[in-house]
Subunit: 312 residues, 2 copies
């Protein structure tokens, strides 16, 4: 069974949408990545850091989903990372109301011995030096996937370039791809990003889907058109978890199979947004997933006949 | 051979993009629709109106592409409809600098006898009453497709509702779908639009592709990610022309075949934007089209295995 190592935040979120408001609920990139990747038949572990205020029931939720949490450091007397955000009416944009790094400010990840040989490593959105320190502890993974955001481009450019040079896949959104490269065309942006290191570039376009680039090849996975987007929090990380989870289970990191991984990522993300926080991802069974993937097939597959003569 | 009747503007455009500027060049919705639909093996005609200042060479371009122009009225002493626009740096939005209706102000379309029995009618973007007058002249078409824009929603709502009630397919962009229905979700918007008349709703999302809705079914055709978008003028009409042209040639207006039509529309639109105005569409051969459609297949087709048990 393939091993997937996930490093990222495990946190408290306080979310406000046009539909309601939460107090501190379970959140964090690694949480969403793990709840998504654990749908697959793999051995996944989270490396992270929480405070003493982090409830046992949240830890039990992770282990109950088959996620190894030996790598989650619990800091006595510490407070868990906290993020608070408010979504605009169309749910496409959000404002960060508050960020309290708390224990995350001193996060020095320690990869458990048994996961140093993980085949796939998922570096969730974190300070690039923290991501690099994880890479220094693992032994020759087959695939390293990096997620990042514009904050690190603005504040830690050189460190970001260092870690980008060492990964196989980068996942960012379209605005970030443009900021990273100065290119408006996503095709040109992906090409420039590949020169920085990653052979595969996933550009997430939120409700507009995701693009996968590799040299001259490109694949597009749509986002499922939805009647209601309830809470978009964690959708991007859920996408990433589906992507790496699928690759880990199928043990095939070819471009052809990455297409499927991107489709699975998009499918799982479509569940995440149906309810507040992690609620939908906590109870998601395989029949539901299969049914959703069938919707993705119907959404995109066609059968045009090609012909070089006038009678198309 | 199926007949396609197109009504819309044939015009002069003056276009400014970050890459250059034109004086009066050939434009107009019906021009782009026709140059696109005439790639297919069909009998297509344009009903429109131009002034005496409209050059014979432009008319020859249309007839040279097999388009019947008996229905294009040439007004002695009149001036052709003129539009001037300027695109923003990212080419996604544009400002209209000038619109001179000229002869279009008195357009009373006369459908040629031989096209009154056209199987497919494409009502290009025009005053709803003008679109309605064309419907009154045709004899029981199999499919009527309507394009419209926010201008008519703002200024001629009741007339727009009248014509919408009589068509089978409506094509609009996402902003317009939201304005028309007050819904943000495109799924909900399409549902409301279907209640107004059209059984099929095509929502164009520009660089983000197009959605096709019919009852509970939905299909998505991406826009091809491009290195360079040179001039987006006419892309939407080229899309429409590919859509109706493909349906006319294949003589199959089922939802399944409409998926293919939307893909063809998207494929042809991807050529349109490569050069200024109609230049790319004027010389487009079938080998190029087939090659581009193959790119669309590679862009979207995947083969995930679905399984109800843990071993996905």
């Amino acid at each position: 069974m393939s091993k997937l190592l996930i490093v990222g935040t495990v946190a408290f979120d306080a979310i406000e949408t046009p539909f309601g408001k939460t107090d501190k609920i379970l959140g964090g990139a690694a949480t969403y990545i793990g709840l998504s990747s654990s749908r697959f038949n793999i051995d996944n572990a989270i490396v992270s850091i929480v405070g003493e205020d982090f409830p046992q029931e949240h830890l039990d939720l992770l282990t109950g989903n088959g996620i190894n949490i030996d790598g989650i450091e619990i800091v006595k007397g510490g407070k868990t990372f906290f993020w608070s955000g408010k979504y605009h009416n169309d749910l496409n944009t959000r404002d960060t109301l508050e960020t309290q790094l708390n224990v995350l400010a001193d996060f020095n990840p320690v990869v458990p011995e048994s996961y140093k040989d993980a085949e796939i490593v998922m570096l969730g959105n974190l300070h690039p030096l923290v991501q690099l320190s994880v890479l220094e502890q693992v032994e020759n993974p087959k695939l390293v996937v990096l997620d990042t955001m514009n904050f690190w481009m603005d504040n830690t450019w050189d460190d970001l370039m260092k870690v980008i040079a060492k990964v196989d896949v980068i996942t960012i959104n379209d605005e970030e791809a443009r900021q990273l490269t100065g290119e408006h065309s996503l095709v040109r942006a992906a090409r420039k990003i590949e020169e920085l290191g990653p052979k595969y570039v996933v550009i997430k376009k939120g409700e507009h889907g995701a693009l996968l680039f590799h040299k001259e090849k490109v694949f597009f996975a749509p986002a499922l058109p939805l009647e209601d987007v309830f809470d978009p929090t964690g959708a991007g990380d859920t996408f990433a978890g589906g992507f790496v989870g699928y690759l880990a289970q199928t043990e095939d990191i070819s471009f052809e199979n990455m297409k499927n991984a991107v489709i699975y990522g998009s499918g799982l993300a479509s569940f995440c947004v149906e309810k507040f926080g992690t609620e939908r991802m906590e109870k998601l069974d395989l029949d539901e997933i299969d049914s959703r993937m069938q919707e993705f097939k119907s959404l995109t597959q066609f059968d045009i006949k090609l012909s070089p003569n006038r009678a198309l």
